[in-house]
Assembly symmetry: D2
Homo-oligomer: 281 residues x 4
Amino acid sequence: MCRWLAYSGSPILIEELLYGPEHSLIDQSRHARMGVDTTNGDGFGVGWYSADTETPAVFRSIEPAWNDRNLREVTGHVHSPLFLAHIRASTGTAVQQTNCHPFRRGEWLWVHNGLVRNFHLIKRDLALAVDESLYADMEGSADSEMLFYLALTFGLEDDPPTAVERMVGFVEEVGHRHGVEHPIQMTIGTTNGESLWAFRYSSERDSRSLFFSTDIRAVREMYPERPRLQEVSDETRIIVSEPLLDLPGAWNEVPESSYGVVQEGEDELRPFRPVYSANGG
Amino acid sequence: MCRWLAYSGSPILIEELLYGPEHSLIDQSRHARMGVDTTNGDGFGVGWYSADTETPAVFRSIEPAWNDRNLREVTGHVHSPLFLAHIRASTGTAVQQTNCHPFRRGEWLWVHNGLVRNFHLIKRDLALAVDESLYADMEGSADSEMLFYLALTFGLEDDPPTAVERMVGFVEEVGHRHGVEHPIQMTIGTTNGESLWAFRYSSERDSRSLFFSTDIRAVREMYPERPRLQEVSDETRIIVSEPLLDLPGAWNEVPESSYGVVQEGEDELRPFRPVYSANGG
Amino acid sequence: MCRWLAYSGSPILIEELLYGPEHSLIDQSRHARMGVDTTNGDGFGVGWYSADTETPAVFRSIEPAWNDRNLREVTGHVHSPLFLAHIRASTGTAVQQTNCHPFRRGEWLWVHNGLVRNFHLIKRDLALAVDESLYADMEGSADSEMLFYLALTFGLEDDPPTAVERMVGFVEEVGHRHGVEHPIQMTIGTTNGESLWAFRYSSERDSRSLFFSTDIRAVREMYPERPRLQEVSDETRIIVSEPLLDLPGAWNEVPESSYGVVQEGEDELRPFRPVYSANGG
Amino acid sequence: MCRWLAYSGSPILIEELLYGPEHSLIDQSRHARMGVDTTNGDGFGVGWYSADTETPAVFRSIEPAWNDRNLREVTGHVHSPLFLAHIRASTGTAVQQTNCHPFRRGEWLWVHNGLVRNFHLIKRDLALAVDESLYADMEGSADSEMLFYLALTFGLEDDPPTAVERMVGFVEEVGHRHGVEHPIQMTIGTTNGESLWAFRYSSERDSRSLFFSTDIRAVREMYPERPRLQEVSDETRIIVSEPLLDLPGAWNEVPESSYGVVQEGEDELRPFRPVYSANGG
């Protein structure tokens, strides 16, 4: 059912966040607590930005994350101020790199936890709605990639919240037309290398868990004995499918049907409302 | 640029044909002589029929064939009267199992050597022509899989030669509409477990090589010292991208723009003519 | 921590046993109940015998078993009267095919669940005891392969129980010499294609679970509604790390420190006693 | 038969050197000109140093280099002043990550092109000579890793040229004792992150090719139209199995039976003489 995390803040060695905490993402690959499945072993991916290259790097593999040496090597030697990591539990589609997250287009990255219900049934209708100029660039067979390309079609690069709201509205309309009661279940993380958006929504209003780190200044004061917390900048934020360590007061749950933005200046948390074609198309 | 072989005849250990001859398919994976590229290392696959299961087995991998131990193990322990094997040289699409041949649907298998030119440009138009009930079953991103699903759409299961002729006509029409001069280059092998069809065609009438074994009775008389040839049944036929060994008189080239059928009773060799929508749709 | 099964009896489609039961080995790869770890996703292997080839086939892979399509394809198309299957949870050594079970030499197969404690510390001493003519054939780095080669050195091919008892005694002596309190933990399955031996032992006398199927005639009478049980021969036996389905009366636990033999004629269950150099060398 | 390159100089994007030149290492993976085999598709590896981590990173894979997307991603986003890259053509041992180069221990990296002849025959004798404290750290089965551990045993970290000369002398002595006429064939690259050593030697005095870049100041003057050459520092050096591009005057062949050192201050080129136990043990 997948787990993911996003980091934005002072540049850190990616490995520190991926492997360090007691219930790190790598630990979650074998022992997830809040997911539908405890095992997320159908591949992984990490996408990171760095100062000296234009587009983010994406390293994806079909191996389980927990014993992958290359993941450890690469993340143990790369510093980044902004990265996404994802561990996959396939909901049926093939285990192959092109189905692993993050998906990338230009400077954008995209990770998804959840599924499109009865995806096989509505896949063609969704694919036909993808912009003609984008269609041939879809390489995999996963619902998550399709959601990304639909969001791009609906304007992700210009206005991410509206594009995702229109994408979700469209998927629900197509699903309902085919008799699917609750077409979509999702938490989504996406970024253009500057801001970071995190969405939590599901048609049944019972979405997968999603958390963001509390203002780090408050956490620092509560835990003066944690040196790593003292070092990162005030703007540092972490968004995760489930908390990386038990630190009371350090995590806030993203509320049902809402989204957050981590950006220069004040961060935001807002309600998420699908846009349907009657009022949005 | 891919190489493939097809075998129909007395049940043999698959390994014998795949590894045995001096210029075997496995040798061709590193040292192809007649292909565009000498290396065919972007994955492989073998599909075989057996007496006691309904659908053929398909074993596909993204590793190069030459050092894959599982390929050797499996083919070294399975006998089959009818099988297809393929080694891949990607023309750009991802190296992943779902892009490896043979492709299968029900009792049908399909291998392809060649390419759809400017596939990226015309992919969407081709995909939209795939029957709605089949669309969501395409799992990969390769042109070869698309050709298979178009052929299925055009009636492969009922009349293979006509279906392939209509498929090729359609691809050429779509390609020409997008300004592609020579849209398709192909040799194709396909079977339903009973008969076996092999096609050789290209828009520019300069198709990849394809050979079929001469009547094995004649070959036997010429080469009495080859015990293996004496053992297989009279109906045994091999079709290959390039000859497996230098045995003068043992191989016939499939003529440009033609196709052959290996079947119970007399085998056939006929001209191949694309069917265009004006005269076929 | 690994799980394994062994089957001996009427030829069956391997897939039936591997995937069919509610708590099948494939299910155990994600949801083991009796193991140290619930996830066994560090590769798998299956080795099978067939009537028409001399040595057993071995198909091994580093992918998790649960979503591996080739495993499903191969086991879904091969019948066998005798096979071993194994799913791996690495205790530290690399995830690579040469560390996957079953290990094979000639007609022998070998699977192991457990570990050699402080293997890194005593590895060299164990390796030096491997027969000189065998040493260079070890290809992997796992303790399990080393145990196999030590057993071969101590006469596995002539007298399996004594060879394993001497191997275990030797490993314990070397371990104790290096200050390792409980050097070995193991269940082992091994076969030469005719008989099948299963061992359960650990230095601390608290061994991993191991079960064998009860006399199938008794089970049949208890469960007349299970047609599959009615079809296999009276001699059919299954040995498993943990029961494949809840069928009261169908499974016996192999007692602590004992071993069983499935063979033509009467099966046997005997105590297992390590042989030390003082009384065995 | 393997190909490798080493780079030392101004920090560059690794991809630039790996993929950029017309006959780049990636091109050599399919079309080597000077090797025994044209295909080097049995895995690859790259090891790099960076300013902010203590030990070098090593990224290794069993896939062919030419279509590996992760290799492109990682090398396309990492700058380094010192790195080694290697493409493998197995001479018989398993295709697995632990047999891929570079091998690493602490801050040392090691790549090898060539082979130990009759390695299977003398493997045990070589392994017994590896220092007891190092033995258990060997993870693979390749001759190249064994040579590295023997060199470490003979003092690589203190005096690399002498350690390699003693290692080679030892391998030749063991080989000759077993009747192997020409036990070793090698070019070797090794570095501790500061200096870089490159060796060319074979028992038959007919060693694999090895080149180093000419003083870059001279090359710059000859080729003023090549902007990339103008940008790197004067100390920049490249060592390669075969030249990366046809640039007359840009490459010098490492002479038969010699070694070079790229280091702060003046580089060196010296004769290589195996040290035998009589005069060296």
